[in-house]
Amino acid sequence: MDELIYTLKQQIIEALNLEDMKPEDIDENASLFGEGLGLDSIDALELIVMMEKNYGIKLQDPTQGKEIFRSVAVMADFIAKNRKK
């Protein structure tokens, strides 16, 4: 799981073009949206594309993202359970 979390952080940084950020800067338990990293709805859509590209997981409803993208840890857990690649 730790490895997945680290990889996921790298993929998030790349997908969202978070210049100057390193995986260590992201707390896997902190909120990605709102108070935490301060991401928004477009970032959520980018994360959906990222999950489909890297893990073969296709979300049909953007509101599902709200639950899944709560934190990197929650996201990693979801990916581990649902990944197709």
Partner: protein, 750 residues
Amino acid sequence: MTGPILITGCGVISAIGNNKAETLDALLHNRSGVGELAYLKTEHKEFPVGEVKMNDEEMRKLLNISDDAITTRTALMGMIALDEALKEAEITSEMIPNIGFISGTTVGGMDMSEQFYLDYVNNDKHKEYIAVHDCGNCSEMTAEHFGKFAFITTLSTACSSAANAIILGANMLRCGEADIVVVGGSECITKFHLNGFNSLMILDTKPCRPFDATRAGLNLGEGAAYLVLETEESAKRRGVKAQAILSGYGNACDAFHQTASSPDGEGAFRAMKEALELAGIQKEAIDYINAHGTGTPNNDLSESQAVKRLFGEEVPPMSSTKPFTGHTTSASGSIEAVFCILALQHGFLPANLNWSQPMDDGIVPVHQIVKKELKHVLCNAFGFGGNDSSMLISRAGSDRHCWLDQQSPEQRPIYVLSAKQISVQQPLSEDWMTQPIEYQEPFNRSIDPSFKDYVSPIEARRMGKILKRAIATSKEAISASGLSSVDAIITGTGYGCIENTEIFLDALSKEGEQMLSPTYFMQSTHNTISSLVAIQTKNHGYNVTYAHKGISFDSALQDAVLQMRLGKIDSALVGGHDELTPTFYNILKKGGVMGRDDEMCGEAAVSVVLGSRPERKLCKLLGFTMLHQQSNASLKQNVSTFFTKINKKISEIDYVLTGISGNHESDMAYIEECRELFGDAKLLKYKHLFGESFTSSGMGIYVAAQCLKAGMIPTHLFVNPSDISNDKITRILVLNNSDLKDYSLTLLEK
């Protein structure tokens, strides 16, 4: 000018009909045109769409256009609607040279660009289509099918483009710039748009249900509509009757998010309020609102809040006609304005089809057609980036409480308060005056400052270079102007965020229609720049974007000057922003669009603040005019009229700053025209330093203003070294000539 603005003709084409009669019949019989995809070649068959029920060949046949002529679907639909509008207003081809044409579109000839993109990159096949990518090209194609209009320009504010074209047209009539203008918009469905909206996950796989609890997104549509706006005096003279009256209009910026509307609908609220105020009509008098009502959860909630804030408990009957046509994006403002005109003429409220359950906190729309006499209606059109507009349309012959009865606008002094640039010269500085950087390469990219002072890394995550440059120059210009904020943000851009457009097109062409990034799509709309500057500077004022070839900046400047003359605004941030990638440089060179002969192409970001208070000024703007498609004789006549109007003599110009760029044909034209028009005024140039780009004319204003402020002309700006002298500088005329047919003249004074 006095009297109301009349709508003396209109034409429309959409999924529910190829003309007004078919459209009316569909509206009266609740017949939707949304259905299974039939014309666009795409793998996304799962989305219902509102296509115009003709393929390109059928449209060409209808219009009598030969098979080998270069056209785009957007232009073809535009011609069909324009034809109907001109006929209804009884406009003959002899009248066209005295009439303006203003169109709105978002992606211009994208139907061709997405089809031929890889050819553009790799070979010479289809290179004759390269130029049609430009939004302005589609407008010209549409207009020139009927003749040579007096002027043509193009607005690109995403889904409110056509509404803003109507607003510009009305402002031009009010300023006495024309007696008749034809205004509206056109947009076809493209793979680019369908996949872009899909990447934003706002397309519904079922027929859209605006304001319904179960609404799950929009259906994409297409179409075109044009209105003939005319002064009462002109209509009387011609003996034509009004179809309706444009009583008021408003434009405001939500300044909230690039694709989402604010929860309280601030931009929409302001736009509607302004339309009522301009018309001088009480809110109780509004009989119907044609909602923007796209069917996305976000839009309908936000629009409901805006309407409730404005109308309180007494919300007028309201419906969205998007279930009939799908969301016709850029054209929706004029298409739905025509629906409103039909509703006023035939006394009915169009139904909000597919509605069954009220949404939380939302309005309850008119869900069945209602027969009712109507007098005043509001028509909303909102765009990405929060470019929100609203029009107030009244039944012909209704009591006139229209603002046009007021006196003509007075001439107010206008000053250039500040001007900042980022380009191939040292950014945000005037070092080019003393230490110009010289380039040998035909294409060079901007020298960027550190953007950290202007945008935080988290804010910058989705911003291409053009956006960061626009924000940096805008913030610097506003700060240097001494104003705390500006009343309007008006931007010109030829190709917008072309870097992101390229990435999206490239992915679409190579990887197909799956897993596309929403970021690249949303940045590809031309109005991203202007709306992002509004978001960054928290500005809810008037906000529009012009995208029309080499006069994009000039059109923006014209708009600012018009509104200052009308007293609508006291200050404006006028931007000219274009970036260029190596790939698009090669494509545009191949298409003969730029990079000809010895021309150096660059990138340009210019932000200019205009204001009416001279405390901290660079120079005074004595006059501005744009001239289109002139014969030598009419050019001379019009230039002379321009100088008479501003009470100056041509001999009072010290210097003419020209767009001489290394393009032989265009340079020759500059030299000959200047000799003919301005006699022995000394010629200057700036494009050898800053490069050619679509909005480089903005750099001309910047250069002239800085020279006037400094009281000196650097020797490297002189076209003829023999002209170099230390003569005093009082006035510089900035002359822009785009495509050898569009001119702008800006006279600046120390």
